[in-house]
């Protein structure tokens, strides 16, 4: 057995927390039933690693087996690392009929043409998502399995989610993706976060959006709590209106968990008394960053409780509306900078 395989296995076992180790190994086809039964998960991580390494020797696992195990773990626990959203543009006519086997072949061959040493593994998850694991090498070195790139794509949709990609690899991946999905270009969707599910739901509009309607759904009507007739809310109307506006801007129910939103302001410094600054050619830069464990939830609360004014400023409502959390605002951009004064949790 090769030394590199051992290292990859060792590194992987170290990454998986002990409680998840059992479920992950059970989904993996690398072990026999007897071997699976002989694992004692009450042991320390070190002992478990030793045991798996000896099994590795015994079963003659190759890197392929180990990467398979890694994919199982990553697919089950996708909310790790930084995920970035990309959007495919200008579809060709047959973009809608791209099918899995065809996509697999095309992607592998296109990437293979671009990079000599690359290891690609494609797996389809139960929720229609195609997971791609890429271990990169270059013309002299073999694929590095310790730092793989993960790509998630739902066929027939224009969105791609990527984690662990360096700027050097980006054009290569972009080209392979564009060609194999039958599109013309790909662009950065300016959306990133730690939770893949959140980014996916936001871009694919899979969270509960609220629209103004004449016919409220029966569920919404039921939610109104029966209140004591002795208690009366004086400003119930405006409160309900604020809540509706907040929900229309950010959505209802559980919102995608986004951790941050960044606004980069590039403007001209205007002050007659300060000539050195005013006459500078470079723009005056300022970065505003909102951070929270669940940013959209915080923003919705701000709007619903009246801390932020309603209707919600386009700067904030653009996050769910445009599906991005990185904005560059220039002088003739959307709205004046003075609108960004609310701070929260």
């Amino acid at each position: 057995m090769e030394d590199s395989t051992r290292r990859v296995l060792q590194r992987l076992i170290r990454r998986i927390p002990t409680p998840q180790l059992k479920t992950t190994l059970e989904k993996w086809s690398g072990m026999t039933v007897a071997q699976r039964g002989s694992m004692d998960y009450t042991q320390t991580k070190w002992a478990l690693t030793e045991k798996l390494l000896s099994l590795c020797e015994e079963n003659d696992w190759t890197t392929k087996h180990i990467t398979e195990l890694e994919m199982i773990y990553v697919i089950d626990n996708p909310n790790q690392g930084m995920w970035h959203g990309f959007q495919l543009l200008d579809p060709e006519d047959d973009a809608h009929s791209v099918e899995l086997t065809q996509f697999k072949e095309q992607f592998k061959s296109h990437l293979g043409e671009l990079v000599r040493h690359v290891s690609v593994k494609i797996k389809k998850h139960t929720d229609e998502a195609v997971w791609i694991r890429i271990a990169w090498g270059d013309s002299f070195s073999r694929p590095n399995h310790l730092k793989p790139t993960y790509v998630v794509h739902h066929l027939q949709t224009p969105y791609v989610f990527v984690t662990g990609l360096t700027s050097k690899q980006k054009p290569l991946l972009s080209q392979a993706l564009v060609l194999s999905t039958r599109h013309h270009t790909i662009k950065d969707a300016n959306l990133s976060g730690r939770k893949l599910t959140a980014i996916r739901d936001l871009l694919m509009k899979q969270y509960q959006q609220v629209f103004p309607t004449n016919f409220p759904s029966p569920l919404a009507e039921k939610n109104e709590t029966v209140s004591n007739p002795k208690i009366e809310r004086e400003q119930a109307g405006p409160g309900a209106h604020r809540h509706q506006m907040a929900c229309e801007a950010f959505g209802d129910g559980m919102l995608p968990q986004l951790q941050s939103a960044v606004y980069k302001l590039e403007t001209k410094f205007k002050d007659h008394t300060n000539r050195t600054m005013t006459e500078r050619d470079e723009p005056f830069k300022c970065i505003v960053k909102f951070e929270s464990t669940n940013l959209l939830e915080s923003l919705r609360y701000c709007a619903a409780s009246g801390i932020a004014s309603t209707p919600v400023t386009p700067l904030l409502s653009s996050i769910p509306l445009k599906g991005r959390n990185y904005f560059v605002i220039t002088d003739n951009g959307p709205g004046p900078s003075s609108q960004m004064h609310q701070s929260q949790n």
Binding site: P91, H96, S97, E99, L100, K124, E128, H154, L155, Q156, T157, P158, Y159, L203, M204, K205, Q209, F211, P212, T213, N214, F215, P311, L321
Partner: protein, 295 residues
């Protein structure tokens, strides 16, 4: 006393003392029971009168409604009779008539919504509209999709919850949304209804036919690969359904793959092929099962 107080601290001890002091002093308010009951009876009587008048209004409203409904369907002759009948009623008849009209229009609107018409709401003080497109399959109401649009300067979709694999923007471009919004909504509704229908069929297949394995499907439900098993010989047949027309609930192409070529050339399987192309998937599979072609 000391035993109970040690846990809660000074404040709770104080409040305990306060409660004790209060209960010692407390004199129950003396109020005449009879008076109370009389007042209650009076209040109930007033309420009864109120309800009675309400019932009356409702009844006359109902009568007006039925006459209105009859008017719209039948000849004008009956109208006059009704008029006479109403005149004697009260000076409120004008108002009642208006109310009856109002409920009728509202009911019509609701009916329109229920049969799948577009529900349009004005938003932002008339600067935009929100259109909802309902989907249904075989009489079952499925998801409702919404589009919020800006009216000025040009008609533009600014927010929607249409799934990303429905080519909304290209539909908007092709359909010439600016001039003919109805046509655009029509095609969009077709796409969405077909998608909902395919999704529902797939759901039903998964529920009703546990023996058939769904090998592959996609988010748009436009490609479906199923695996059948032929009884007796236990041969596996791979069936690929291709719904290349995204506005249809039925596949445009059906393809079988099998190791034993003779099976596919039999007339039965030729029939199955056309069956799958003409009937909804879950029903076609049911028929095939009954015929004994698949397990």
């Amino acid at each position: 006393m000391e035993g109970t107080s040690t846990k809660g601290g000074v404040l709770s001890l104080l409040s305990l003392l306060e409660v004790q002091a209060r209960s010692r002093r407390h004199v129950p308010p003396q109020r005449s029971r009879v008076k109370e009951l009389r007042a209650e009876a009076e209040a109930l009587r007033v309420r009864r009168e109120q309800l009675k008048t309400e019932i009356q209004t409702h009844q006359s409203l109902q009568r007006l409604r039925t006459s209105l409904d009859r008017q719209s369907t039948h000849d004008e002759e009956e109208e006059e009779e009704e008029e006479e009948e109403m005149d004697e009623d009260s000076e409120n008849s004008q108002l009642l008539k208006l109310m009856a009209r109002h409920t009728r229009v509202k009911d019509l609107l609701l009916a329109h919504h229920l049969i799948g018409g577009y529900d349009i709401v004005k938003t932002r003080h008339g600067k935009g509209v929100c259109v909802s497109v309902a989907t249904a399959y075989e009489g079952v109401c499925l998801e409702t999709y919404n589009l919020e649009m800006d009216l000025k300067p040009t008609l533009r979709i600014c927010r929607h919850n249409v799934p990303p694999f429905v080519p909304l923007s290209s539909l908007a471009e092709q359909g010439d949304m600016q001039t003919d919004i109805r046509a655009f909504l029509e095609t969009l509704s077709q796409h969405l209804n077909a998608f909902a229908g395919r999704k529902q069929q797939l759901k039903l297949v998964k529920e009703q036919h546990k023996t058939i394995e769904v090998m592959e499907s996609n988010a748009l439900c436009s490609i479906l690969v199923l695996m059948f098993t032929v009884p007796k010989t236990k041969t596996a047949i791979l069936c690929t359904l291709n719904y290349s027309d995204h506005t249809a609930c039925l596949p445009a192409r059906v393809q079988f793959e099998c190791d034993v070529k003779e099976i596919l050339e039999s007339t039965e399987w030729r029939k199955n092929c056309s069956l799958l192309m003409e009937t909804p998937l879950h029903k076609a599979l049911m028929t095939m099962k009954k015929m004994g072609n698949i397990v």
